[in-house]
């Protein structure tokens, strides 16, 4: 083997590795479903507050929203795991990342929020920023990196809206929740749809 053979061999190795790494590790479906579910939950919560509903309705609503999301993700994950053709380290890290973020968010919604009598939206937005930045880097997906920055900016804005210095728009309207619901659509559902379309193109292109 001479130098040219070695160069060709290395070029071949690089091409095979790059080609194999282009395997889509995420199709965006979880982002879309969770984004739609949570934004609907947020709008429903806002509606209940405006209608002066009190009691267990909020707890039941969020148990349904979060429970539905977890069941969907679990079933999808188990089904895909049994048929997946390739498993990547990036995919394993993404699963662990969003599981961790999901657990923190559950703690904030069902324990932190009620105990501190504060809206958990600002803290949840900050957690989502972490999830989206790491996902964006692993998937090499710029929309998620932008989403991360927006979630952190949104988190700061939500903390302000919940503070005593903010002027309320409506006496019974939590402006931070309204902002969160809109951000969920813009910075989770929309990038999720773009990721899904990218995945579909990659699958179609082999």
């Amino acid at each position: 083997m001479d130098r040219i053979d070695a160069q060709q061999e290395l070029a071949f190795i690089r091409k095979v590795i790059q080609d194999s790494r282009r395997v889509a590790v995420d199709n965006g479906v979880d982002y879309i479903v969770w984004g739609v579910l949570v934004s609907l939950g947020m709008f429903a919560t806002i509606g209940l507050e405006l209608l002066r509903v009190t009691g267990a309705a909020y707890l039941l609503l969020w148990i349904a929203v979060m429970g539905g999301g977890w069941v969907f993700s679990l079933v999808r994950h188990l089904r895909e795991r049994s048929t997946e053709r390739v498993r990547t380290m990036a995919g394993a890290i993404l699963n662990a990342l969003w599981l961790a973020c999901g657990i923190v968010i559950m703690i904030l919604i069902f324990i932190g929020g009620p105990m501190l009598r504060q809206s958990p939206s600002p803290a949840i937005a900050a957690v989502l920023g972490i999830g989206f930045l790491v996902s964006g880097v692993l998937l090499d997906f710029v929309y998620f990196k932008v989403s991360a920055a927006c979630w952190w900016a949104g988190s700061a804005a939500m903390f302000y809206l919940e503070s005593p210095w903010a002027r309320p728009v409506h006496p019974r309207l939590h402006a931070d929740m309204l902002l969160f619901a809109v951000m969920m659509i813009l910075f989770q559902v929309v990038p999720g749809i773009i990721l899904y379309r990218r995945w579909r193109n990659e699958v179609a292109g082999g």
Partner: protein, 99 residues
């Protein structure tokens, strides 16, 4: 131009198909037989022969399971295979650097 001492190259990896299999498995954590077949562009029989050789050398490990009564084989690089691949690439790079 002086030729490289070919005995320094790992014979198990020094074959186009086996090299491609190793490169695919370096890129992904675990791959099914059909995925490897697509990426390596080999026939079932040919791929099986080369995978068996890599398995015998301890470079890949295989996990077999049934999904809907169909057998599925998934392959991944062993630590030994990863080291062998890295060493192979280092030798190629040193060849380019030396001359």
């Amino acid at each position: 131009m002086a030729d490289y001492d070919h005995t320094l190259l790992d014979d198990v990896i020094h074959s186009r198909i086996r090299l491609a299999i190793m490169a695919v498995l370096i890129a992904v954590d675990q791959a099914e037989f059909t995925f490897l077949k697509e990426k390596v562009n080999a026939t079932d029989g040919n791929l099986s022969v080369h995978l068996k050789k890599l398995d015998e050398a301890g470079y890949v490990s295989v996990q077999k399971r049934f999904v809907d009564r169909k057998p599925l084989s998934s392959y991944r690089l062993t630590a030994r295979g990863r080291r062998a691949f890295e060493s192979y690439v280092e030798r190629l790079e040193s060849l380019i650097g030396k001359q």
